[in-house]
Symmetry: C2
Subunit: 503 residues, 2 copies
């Protein structure tokens, strides 16, 4: 039995390595690469993608999978070996339908698109970005055409980020979420004077912000022997195995929460990758699979911990010590209320927890229209702005603050956005559950002791890598499927506290 | 005709991309990677090497080469297409003899060896490094066994760094070089009091050193849009195509020449890669091939420009402005004489131009003994120290200052060292030639105008990439083969000036 599994494992180990190589090429492009390296980088990414796809989508993978499947007969379906075969087989069934040239073309267009986006965003010049977005969209449509079993084209794309998830399920969840968020946002804007966020604005030198961010992520579990933190225009986390985790943040010298909570967010992602069992490394199980679960980790650390009442007792004195000046003697309650102020704003990654969901709903709706041809790229900025006004009541001043703000479409990641809001919902369920299992969790957080939370997450979620699908994992951990209620209950509880209202 | 060449070019473009990917993996390992990433990195490097070797060493490459060769019939043998076929065919003839597993094993051992070396060097612990060096040496011997046409085993290794060069030729050149250097070093140590190098020592904060280094490499042609400069334990230069050049340096806060001249050295390498014709990118001609020519560029910029009398007129005021203090009002003549002081020392990369050659001769002799089994690894430190005493008159205090100082053996690069001294010889020939073609060159250097030199080097050497072998290139540029005399004449001229002697 071992032999067939081992042969499959060896074959897939090289494909896992090539995946990590891709991650490094992308990490370097976004953090280190000089601008003129872009053309060469796009070629390198396309080549690695081509080689990797050719290997993985081959008949050889199919044969090895079949032999390993046969050898498994009777093995524990919850074991690593069964999961290895199951997950690899599912991915292979998708990959083998995609021509090598299409896979390579998507990688190249993604790399070139990101460089074009960076420049277009800096100049708020949507027209300059149009050809790149058109190319990505055309390739996404060709990708969809490789498949035939789906309810709608968007299903195919969504499945790449959230395996097994259907557009109809997301639509239903988002309808419920919208019906909760819209009135909540309305109520809170009637009481906007109740919360003062002045302490968040001022002059915060990047070097000191970096010190602060490092101090906080070290409390979370960031370890310089196995991690790095760098600067990126659009912050992200990645990893090349569990012993080499890279996170990024950006520095706004007039507003510290962007970097601080951004770093906590990316460190949340990083802890997931760092927590995956060593035994799963260099297999298809060695990275997390569900992006919704991934995002649940980042959002939980960013918002439920970082913007929570308990941890404000740690952050307030740390901010006071780091920046002094107007923040000297910063009160935890003042900080807690300020960072939870609800106010519609333009930039998704800086949105508060209540309006955030609406940013996602908007993108989810627009990208479905794009992929189904109901909306042309030329019409996209206008459609964005109109829907933004409808959902958040603001007039978008320029495309840099609107349709150009996110990297995703530039890199061909269409179908990715909904996982952000799904991540919030899952975080709500996990947050409820961890408090049941650790009734004294808040005391630990208040003392800056983040170990119990991290270890619970590692034990419940991280260590499994890609072994379980999102529904399987939720069933194991919270005994339920994905749901809107726990997140909304958490949000209303917190905002009632912040605003002194009964929401 | 175009079709067969184009098919070959497309095939080789992917192999060139995989080469650049390898360079990025190595660059990241030496500049950015957290320590615990080492095991994963070794696997990734082995996989990329395996994939690339499998592709290049295949029968398919042979067929494409044959078809392209036939299609070339009658084409200009000096043209890009003929060179492409010629260079690729030569490399393929070597590659196809090497088993895939051996190529991958060498890449993995090189990566692991470097990490082990970094730690062993920090602790001056040769014993901890022994197993890694043994592995590299064993793999180098197995590599040699793949070939049968050579005069001695070392020829095979040397040929990888300096195509076509024979051990016997190097031995003859080095014998002549030794016969010049040993008496020269002896004479100068009798007059050591004539030069005072006190101005080089003091307190030089790394941040200011970085500013200085950037200012100087920018004069040379470093362009932030297409280059980066980072920190590395063992400085090096690399590139992923001519539009993404990476150089490194290290900061000794008590001795500024290490970083300054190190940066000029690596920038010299970088200018070579940056100067290669765009049309040769993503082909086997797109990187330089002869490491001796490569080293001639770095040494020429580091020593003939950087430590030259003319450019001291630029460096002295720059140093005075950057560091002030004891260097305020630094006199160009004082600086020029200090940086050219000849004194035996332990570390090769910090050696003066006269003793440098002896560091190389020592390594060349020892690595031949290692590869031929005349010397065991356990005996290596003792052999190193004995020969060091013989050639340079010093007692090596510990292995960090002796046998452990260089990265090369840790990464399996055996046969690489001689190219450094050959580079000095070539630099001597080029320096002579450029002064014939640009009689006013020194006035330009004195004014900080490094453009004419850079453009001459680009036009004569850089743009050709790997089109010509080292002897072909020298014949084109200086009308001669590699020779000891011009370098020795240059050195004696300069040191006569510095010491006020007739050497």
């Amino acid at each position: 039995m071992t032999t067939a599994i081992d042969r499959l494992r060896d074959w897939l180990a090289e494909i896992a390595d090539l995946g990590d190589v891709t991650h490094l090429l992308e990490w370097d492009q976004q953090t280190m690469m000089p601008a003129r390296g872009a053309a060469g980088r796009a070629e390198a990414l396309a080549t690695v993608r081509r080689v990797s796809h050719e290997k993985f989508a081959s008949a050889q993978t199919g044969k090895l999978l079949e032999a390993a499947g046969a050898a498994l007969d009777g093995a524990d379906p919850g074991g690593d070996e069964a999961a290895l075969v199951r997950v690899a087989a599912r991915r292979w069934e998708k990959a083998r339908r995609v021509p090598i040239e299409l896979a390579a073309a998507r990688a190249k267009a993604a790399s070139l698109g990101q460089e074009a986006w960076r420049e277009a965003r800096a100049r708020s010049d949507f027209a300059a970005f149009v050809p790149y977005l058109e190319r990505n969209l055309e390739l996404a449509r060709r990708y969809v055409e490789c498949f035939d079993e789906f309810d709608c084209p968007y299903d195919v794309l969504l499945d790449d980020y959230e395996p097994g998830m259907r557009t109809a399920t997301v639509t239903a969840l988002f309808a419920q979420l919208k019906s909760e968020l819209i009135p909540l946002i309305g109520t809170l804007s009637d009481h906007r004077d109740r919360v003062d966020a002045a302490c968040l604005h001022g002059s915060f030198p990047a070097a000191q912000q970096r010190e602060l961010a490092v101090a906080v992520v070290r409390l979370m579990g960031y370890d310089p022997a196995a991690w790095r933190m760098d600067t990126a225009v659009h912050p992200f986390a990645t990893s090349f195995g569990h012993q080499d985790v890279r996170i990024t943040t950006r520095w706004d010298e007039s507003y510290f929460p962007a970097a601080l909570f951004g770093a906590m967010h990316e460190c949340g992602h990083g802890l997931y990758e760092a927590g995956i069992d060593g035994a799963l490394q260099r297999t298809p199980l060695g990275h997390a699979e569900s992006l919704a679960i991934h995002e649940s980790q980042s959002r939980l650390w960013e918002n439920m911990v970082g913007r929570g009442r308990a941890f404000s007792n740690v952050l307030a004195p740390l901010l006071a010590r780091t920046f002094g000046g107007a923040l000297a003697g910063l009160d935890p309650d003042t900080l807690y209320r300020a960072v939870n102020r609800v106010a519609p704003s333009f930039i998704r990654v800086e949105a508060d927890e209540a309006t955030y969901g609406m940013h996602i709903v908007l993108r989810f709706e627009l990208e479905q229209q794009l992929i189904e041809g109901q909306l042309s790229i030329r019409e996209l900025p206008e459609a964005w702005n109109a829907r933004f006004k409808e959902y958040l009541g603001l007039d978008v001043p320029d495309d840099a603050h609107g349709v150009l703000q996110d990297v995703h479409w530039s890199s061909g990641s269409i179908g990715y956005f909904p996982t952000y809001a799904l991540g919030n919902l899952i975080a709500g369920e996990l947050w409820e559950r961890v408090h049941v299992e650790h009734p004294d969790l808040d005391q630990h957080l208040e003392a800056g002791d983040l170990g119990p939370l991290r270890e619970w997450l590692r034990e419940s979620i991280h260590r499994h890598g890609a072994k379980f699908t999102m529904p399987e994992l939720l069933e194991r951990v919270v005994g339920d499927s994905i749901a809107v209620e726990p997140f909304v209950a958490y949000l209303k509880r917190k905002l009632s506290d912040v605003y002194g209202l009964r929401l």
